[in-house]
Symmetry: C2
Subunit: 219 residues, 2 copies
DNA sequence: CAAAACTGGAGAGTAGTACTATCCAAGGAA
DNA sequence: TTCCTTGGATAGTACTACTCTCCAGTTTTG
């Protein structure tokens, strides 16, 4: 197909497709004449994946590029690829030194990981993210209930067992790899959405709502 | 305290503090002379909350402003405030018409909400977010296992019960309100971080990792 | 008491991200 | 043959979140 058809089928403007090609997110079409190039189904699928990661996953293009490079590199195994996705999802926060809140948060994180027997690398972005969140809450004067944290971790473990149960590792690598990336990025969205829905339901049950509708934003 | 002390204690540059005041995120200090103004502890706390929402919660400043306006408005009850926070967290996605994937996803969302008995408004951003995520996965050719979705929802319900258990509704309103906002925004971070940590652990157990370390980004 | 440093306030300038628009000459379709 | 589309390149735009510079008045310091 020509670029115009690709543009229409993926619902992405030609200018944007050209931009993605320039930026190395999408491979070039195969030239058939000096002013014509042919695009295939794989271009369409890739374009849809990019849009999904950008629109739904809210990833910066640099992150998308990092993930796609790893996806395309056959020497990268799946565990490592998931790691790459995790890195792309989060800019690496640097660890402040001599910060009492950070040190306390780090201890809490380490204890939790030990308690659940989770083996993750020292520099896993998610580990730093958790630590930073706990340190920030501490700095704001709120100390998180350890039981709540354990409930989160317990839920995470349960969910991940479910997720891995749905992966068919016998399918072609490219397919498994794209599925894994979509799982990591998109289902995280679904999870936070469900969290907020449960919160809205619970807050409606617990709190007085008489006279105020919660369906109009207060901006 | 003067602006320089506020800047130092909150670890935010004077220029940025001035910018926040201009943008209406932070109230002015009380002027003591034409070139001097006094800032109090509440300025410091507010500044820390802004930084937490921006840095850890990755909220845009417009979203932070919307939340803070609702926090400061005593006529806004807690249920409504949580709704405001939810709106600030997500730009309202518009609903495409005549899109088969979207319609299927919407049906899945509605069924799930009905099954769990969650009462949420029609236009809840989280509801649209979930629908959009499911529609996107559908468009990419992956159909989510209903059991997995139910596992997510189940975890969300369990977590929210825990969260509401830790809130002391008898404390002063300002305190409860800030706690609720922090809960919504920051603990979501903690949740996704734990999800990724559980994923890394599981992927290390299930997949071959020989010869490759997952702790260096593939960029 | 004079020089240096700091203050609040205002406006302009900057860096990064993600496009979007314009131009061009060569090909193809009506 | 006339018009439209194409690939390729370059420049421009919109938005966000600061950051810088300037100013005149005010403290602080030597």
């Amino acid at each position: 197909m020509l670029i115009s058809e690709l543009s229409e089928r993926a619902d992405v403007s030609i200018a944007t497709i050209k931009y993605y090609i320039r930026e190395g997110l999408l491979p070039k079409g195969t030239s058939t004449s000096p002013t014509r190039a042919e695009y295939g189904e794989q271009h369409l699928q890739r374009l849809r994946l990019i849009r999904a990661l950008v629109d739904v996953g809210a990833l910066p293009l640099a992150g998308v590029r990092a993930i796609l490079n790893a996806v395309d590199d056959d020497s990268v195994n799946l565990h490592y690829l998931l790691g790459t996705a995790a890195y792309a999802l989060e800019p690496r926060p640097e660890r402040p030194v001599g910060d009492p809140e950070w040190d306390r948060a780090e201890r809490t994180t380490d204890e939790l990981l030990a308690e659940f027997g989770w083996k993750v690398t020292e520099h896993a972005p998610a580990r730093l993210k958790l630590t930073r969140t706990l340190a920030t809450l501490d700095r704001l004067g709120w100390h998180i209930d350890p039981g709540l944290l354990r409930a989160y971790a317990d839920s995470a473990a349960r969910i991940v067992r479910h997720e891995f149960g749905t992966v068919d590792f016998d399918r072609p690598r490219a397919e498994v790899v794209e599925y894994a990336v979509a799982m990591t990025v998109l289902m995280e969205n679904a999870m936070t959405a469900l969290h907020r829905l449960a919160q809205e339901d619970m807050s409606g049950r617990v709190l007085d709502t008489a006279g105020q509708a919660p369906d109009a934003p207060h901006v």
